[in-house]
């Protein structure tokens, strides 16, 4: 059994999180919509998609080509990717 580590792409809104999830799904990548930890966000409430950190490069590529504007990528440990 492996302990998968999850990373997060922080997005401008829940609408963009929905869009990101569809773009990733179309690229064959699994993701979940998550509410960002409000204690760690600069502007307050926000949403993003979480995905397996092992797929970070594929996720970045898919979101970029899908025209999804990601505010920042955060690793499972909380540091910026």
């Amino acid at each position: 059994m492996t302990n998968e580590i999850y990373c997060t792409a922080a997005l401008p809104s829940l609408t963009y999180a929905m869009k990101a999830q569809r773009v990733l799904s179309a690229a064959g990548l699994n993701s979940d919509i998550v509410k960002l930890d409000s204690s760690k966000t600069k502007h307050g409430c926000g949403y993003g998609v979480s995905f397996s950190c092992s797929e970070t490069d594929s996720v970045k590529r898919a979101l970029r080509s899908g025209g999804v504007n990601v505010k920042q990528y955060v690793s499972g440990g909380g540091e910026l990717l």
Binding site: P12, S13, L14, T15, K19, V34, K42, H43, G44, G46
Partner: protein, 377 residues
């Protein structure tokens, strides 16, 4: 009961709409965008599906540029007040509903905006008439696709082309055309499309939408919470959250989603053809009765406006109502339209068709009118 008031609101609603609205209220109506629990996300998912459905249906190509509003009037106000500033010039048609005319009038009276009204008759001169009215400070052309008091169709693709070439924003009031006539925002070069959810698109009352082209950014009409960037005093920059404040009406949006799916599966061209046929049957029935004046008799479609036996329109509508036939008399919130059509004081009777009307409904209308005729002659 015979329902012929579809220009006011579509009735009845498709069974799938009723069923999904009920399902939403009973099973998943959380507050979208206000948390990450199952119900909040289930609502948000349906709302995004509706953005996708509208974006596809109107060829917008961008679900996040579908903004939910209260209704078409709210969408129109958002465009007009979010775009125009003191000294700007705007052009509207002589068939506008008060949803367009009143906000423009107020902007002119209180905010130093200038406006002109282009004549829609004769039809072949519409584009030239608009061309002549465009000035250096013209920022917006906003007009109806098809009015609520006539079935005339304005040359939207040509007007869109003209506006795009002249750098003027082109906004369309699709209150009477969405779900009745084909609309392609890309081909028609529409920058802002204002829609009701509860008319031709078969949703329930409570929501409308504004589909915004990529180049369009508006000032906000309302400010408040929307679940995003709560620590910031300013509204977010990006659509749709920039324009959506407070809790969205999820049951209504879910109804619209199901309604758009129904319309798309039936086919809007088929619906239009059905309404053209009903209009023709109705026109012929009215002519057989005699004593009828039809306004714009050359324009068939979802709306037929007439006066009967020189009776006040509200009296005819009221008598028809007592006979179980739902129509609308008066001025239909369109002072400009009635003035253009030269209806008499008191306005006219409007019959408006929808997806679920049939020939028997027209027979019922004709029988009821014949009865009124016997009573009043």
């Amino acid at each position: 009961m015979i329902y012929l008031d579809n220009a006011a609101t579509g009735f009845p609603k498709p069974e799938s709409v009723v069923s999904e609205v009920n399902n939403c209220i009973k099973n998943y109506c959380g507050n979208p965008g206000r948390g990450s629990h199952e119900l909040a996300l289930a609502s948000a998912e349906k709302i995004y599906e509706c953005r996708e459905a509208l974006s596809d249906f109107f060829f917008l190509g961008s679900p996040e540029r579908v903004v939910f509003t209260e209704n078409a009037t709210h969408s129109i106000n958002l465009v007009i007040k979010g775009l125009l500033h003191r000294g700007d010039h705007v052009i509207i048609s002589d068939m506008e509903h008060n949803s367009v005319f009143r906000p423009i009038y107020r902007m002119a009276k209180e905010n130093g905006v200038h406006f002109d009204i282009f004549p829609t008759h004769p039809e072949e001169r519409i584009v030239d008439n608009v061309k002549r009215l465009i000035r250096r400070n013209t920022k917006l052309v906003i007009c109806t696709h098809t009015p609520n008091v006539s079935s005339a169709i304005l040359p939207i693709a040509e007007l869109g082309e003209l506006c795009r070439n002249r750098g003027v924003v082109f906004a369309l009031d699709a209150a009477q055309s969405a779900g009745h006539l084909p609309i392609n925002m890309k081909d028609m070069k529409i920058d802002a499309l204002c829609l009701p959810g509860h008319k031709g698109l078969c949703g329930i009352q409570g929501c409308g939408a504004l589909c915004l082209g990529e180049e369009i950014s508006l000032s906000t009409l309302t400010e408040g919470g929307n679940g995003i960037n709560s620590l910031e005093a300013d509204m977010p920059e990006l659509s749709p959250e920039r324009y959506e404040t407070g809790t969205l009406p999820t049951p209504s949006i879910v109804g619209l989603l199901q309604g758009v799916r129904e319309v798309a599966s039936t086919g809007v061209e088929r619906i239009h053809k059905h309404e053209l046929a009903l209009w023709q049957i109705c026109y012929e029935a009215l002519m057989r009765l005699g004593g009828v004046e039809v306004y714009e008799p050359d324009c068939a479609g979802a709306v037929l406006l007439f006066n009967f036996n020189r009776l006040p329109s509200d009296r005819v509508a009221s008598e028809l109502g007592r006979a179980g036939v739902c129509v609308r008399g008066g001025y239909h919130c369109s002072a400009l339209g009635h003035k253009t059509l030269k209806t008499p004081p008191g306005g006219a009777v409007r019959v408006s068709f929808g997806l679920y009307n049939n020939e028997q409904d027209i027979d019922g209308l004709a029988d009821a009118l014949a009865h009124i005729k016997r009573k009043t002659e």
